[in-house]
């Protein structure tokens, strides 16, 4: 905690080493590792195994960018910090990018010196209550004590929702999601609120996941995606197009299993994606076949989804019929074309 204040102070005094825009790619290549910021270990999105390896939907994005640059998904140094300091840490150049269920908002995009690249998960805020409380709707939470993470859009939406519905609440806040969840499980609040994906992820790690109910209301829009520092357009392009590439791969039927055969595909869209045709990699400052490395390492969007948060995982977030289905299947996961 101390260290963070020193970082704030250093930022305030303008003493921090100026890590200037336009150079992230060179810095990363020179360093040989990508500093990728994730949150405190959360199942499905940025989970930490006992042997110290990270995995998850957001972690796979770090690995994908590393694969695009180095041809190797493991040249990543994970930086795990609380939600409350994520933007300072990124603005301070402690990390090169942030991939951690972060909501794209106007203030964040325009006033924090940050750039949101794109959206890789469409989420919304919900409430989790103990099943034995008998609560079945968020509208029954009037006068409730609500556990909420500080420094998030969650705490702002919470206030908005109660205000809009003429209800009152008392927030119990913490910047550390683990402390907050402990408080909720200990009965210190009537409900725990977060992005619904986050709730599902946390709940999967509860001692008794079935002892808790997710209320039906979705009270906000939470488009989540990777973020970079503002001012380095080339770097933002790379991160953005790696995500687009992963989405296009699913749409075109390219997966980690068939990517090698697909390199000789006759479909010009696939040929351009995998670099057997055209020079898209050049414009991004990486090898022409960067998407081959990316897909080999992490798979396409659908593979990543099913592996980490899909219905066959403990998190179990269904995809079919939700916003996160491909646009061709009624969702809004859609990427501009590789051409």
């Amino acid at each position: 905690m101390r260290l963070r204040y020193i970082a704030h102070a250093a930022l305030a005094l303008g003493l921090a080493a100026p890590a200037f825009a336009q150079e992230t790619m060179e810095t990363v290549k020179e360093r040989g590792v990508l500093n990728c910021q994730v949150g405190l270990p959360t199942p499905g999105f940025y989970a930490l195994a006992e042997d110290g390896t990270w995995s998850g939907m957001d972690v796979d994005l770090c690995r994908a960018v590393s694969a695009a640059i180095f041809g190797d998904p493991d040249q990543v140094e994970y930086q795990s910090v609380t939600s409350a300091v994520r933007f300072t840490s990124l603005a301070n150049a402690e990390s090169d990018m942030l991939s951690r269920t972060t909501t794209w908002t106007a203030v964040r995009d325009t006033q924090l010196g940050l750039d949101f690249t794109t959206v890789n998960f469409y989420d919304g805020q919900g409430f989790l209550v103990p099943a034995d409380s008998g609560i079945t709707s968020a509208l029954e939470l009037d006068g409730g004590v609500i556990c909420v993470l500080t420094g998030t859009t969650t705490e702002l939406n919470l206030a908005d929702y109660f205000r809009a519905n003429g209800m009152s609440f008392t927030p119990v806040t913490n910047e550390n999601v683990n402390v907050l969840v402990e408080t909720y499980l200990g009965g210190g609040c009537d409900a725990y609120t977060n992005d619904k994906s986050g709730l599902a992820a946390r709940r999967s790690a509860f001692p008794d996941p079935n002892g808790h109910t997710l209320l039906p209301e979705t009270v906000s829009k939470e488009p989540l995606g990777p973020v970079v520092r503002q001012g380095d357009d080339a770097w933002a392009n790379l991160v953005r197009w790696v995500v687009f590439g992963i989405i296009n791969a699913e749409e075109l039927g390219v997966s980690s299993e068939n990517v090698d055969e697909m390199t000789s595909s006759a479909d010009p869209n696939i040929a351009r994606l995998l670099g057997s045709e055209g020079n898209i990699g050049e414009g991004l400052g990486v090898s022409p076949t960067f998407m081959v490395d990316v897909i080999k390492a992490v798979g396409n969007y659908g593979e990543i989804y099913e592996k980490h948060i899909g219905e066959n995982t403990p998190i179990g977030i269904p995809r079919e019929g939700t916003l996160n289905a491909l646009w061709t299947e009624g969702g809004i996961i859609y990427a501009p074309p590789f051409r």
Partner: protein
């Protein structure tokens, strides 16, 4: 061989310059000027560097965000606050919460520290050992750990609202907080308050008069006890005479939680208990050393004069002990204020939590927010040292 000393005209001028350098007053002015220039230059460079860095990072600076509405809820506020209030309001909410924690902890720590400190001097072996173990145990455990232990080990584990611990249908303790009745003044209560204030002013005047008279005539008047009695008895009398113009609003269980009355969250309770216990240990040691610093001869002299025991304490021991006790005591009070920032670990909305953390993150205005926080803590520290210097100057032994 005679050496003819041929004075060089430039020599005297040089000696003039050298002389200037050897002149302590001029030299010190010179050094001060250079230091000042360096400091100003450094500050200028810092400002410029900050501005360049901020611009390079596309970060917003400036204080214009202060009148933007903050938009988040705060779990406990001493002054009225709602989500649509401004960031500036959040700053004051944080300051008031910090000061409240500090004030309550200081009072509790002082009372408890005094008791433990005296117990430590007791001739009774059990009492002395108990208090000593208490001090060693609490003082040598990290404060953060104690705060977290009290929060998770005690206050979060309390029963849920429906099974609250209840005291006379007026006080309730559960894992959402501690609820007590709120006083609601009714017409006429202003008179009681006015009587109370008048009694305080009267007591101060009485004390001054009694001291002057004692200095003049040597006769004693028990101003302290008279005044203290008046402060309690008179307002109480007026209160009863007016038919108790004070209503009480009791907390009651409505829906999910208690409403009405006054309440504090578990994080506040944990913070107060941990902070006061921790600080009371240091205060106990300060009290003990202060009392032990009064030489035995003083007591023997008081005994020889046949002073009654409470006079020996009040007129001989305390004035001398306090001289040793007060300065370190005040710096403990300052420590409490600063240590209260550990509140963030358990989510109590003090200044650091609500301002340096939440507001900074939501608004992204690191510089003004860090600067304002530093200014607050700086102001508190400076005021405390001013009080301390004033006290020290007054409490010096007046040698005659």
């Amino acid at each position: 061989m005679a050496v003819i000393h041929n004075p060089d005209p430039s020599d005297s001028k040089q000696r003039g310059v050298t002389r200037l350098f050897y002149d302590a007053r001029i030299r010190s002015i010179f050094i001060q000027a250079i230091t000042l220039a360096l400091v100003l230059g450094f500050l200028g460079w810092l400002t410029l560097n900050t501005m360049t860095n901020l611009a390079a990072r596309n970060l917003s600076a400036g204080f214009d965000f202060l009148d933007v509405s903050a938009g988040f809820g705060i779990g406990f506020t001493l002054i009225p606050y709602q989500e649509s209030d401004t960031y500036l309001r959040v700053f004051f909410v944080g300051i008031m919460n910090t000061l409240l924690v500090a004030a309550v902890s200081i009072v509790l720590a002082t009372v408890f520290g005094l008791i433990v400190g005296l117990a430590r001097l007791s001739n009774n072996w059990i009492i002395a050992t108990l208090s000593r173990s208490y001090i060693e145990l609490i003082r040598n455990t990290p404060l953060l750990l104690q705060i977290i232990a009290w929060f998770f080990g005690v206050f979060v584990l309390l029963p849920r609202p429906r099974q609250s611990v209840e005291l006379g249908e007026a006080f309730f303790l559960n894992n959402r907080g501690f609820y007590m009745p709120a006083a609601v003044p009714e017409p006429g209560f202003g008179v009681v308050t006015a009587t109370f204030l008048a009694c305080i002013v009267g007591t101060i005047a009485l004390a001054i008069w009694a001291r002057r008279r004692r200095d003049r005539t040597g006769r004693h008047f028990p101003a302290f006890f008279t005044g203290f009695g008046a402060i309690i008895v008179l307002p109480l009398g007026v209160h009863l005479a007016l038919g108790s113009p004070l209503g009480w609003e009791l907390p009651e269980l409505k829906g999910l939680n208690f409403t009405g009355g006054v309440s504090v969250p578990p994080s506040f309770c944990a913070l107060i208990v941990a902070l006061s216990a921790y600080t009371s240990c240091f205060i106990a040691e300060i009290v003990r050393s202060g009392i032990q610093s009064v030489s035995k001869g003083q007591l023997e002299a008081a005994g020889a004069l046949n002073l009654p025991a409470n006079w020996t304490l009040r007129r001989v021991v305390l004035p001398q002990a306090l001289r040793v006790i007060i300065p370190p005591l005040i710096s403990q009070y300052l420590n409490v204020t600063k240590n209260s920032s550990l509140a963030i670990a358990i989510g109590f909305p003090d200044l650091v939590s609500v301002w340096m953390n939440t507001s900074l993150n939501q608004s992204g205005r690191a510089i003004p927010i860090v600067a304002m926080t530093m200014a607050f803590y700086c102001l508190v520290s400076i005021s405390v040292s001013l009080v301390m210097n004033y006290y020290n100057a007054r409490a010096q032994i007046k040698e005659r």
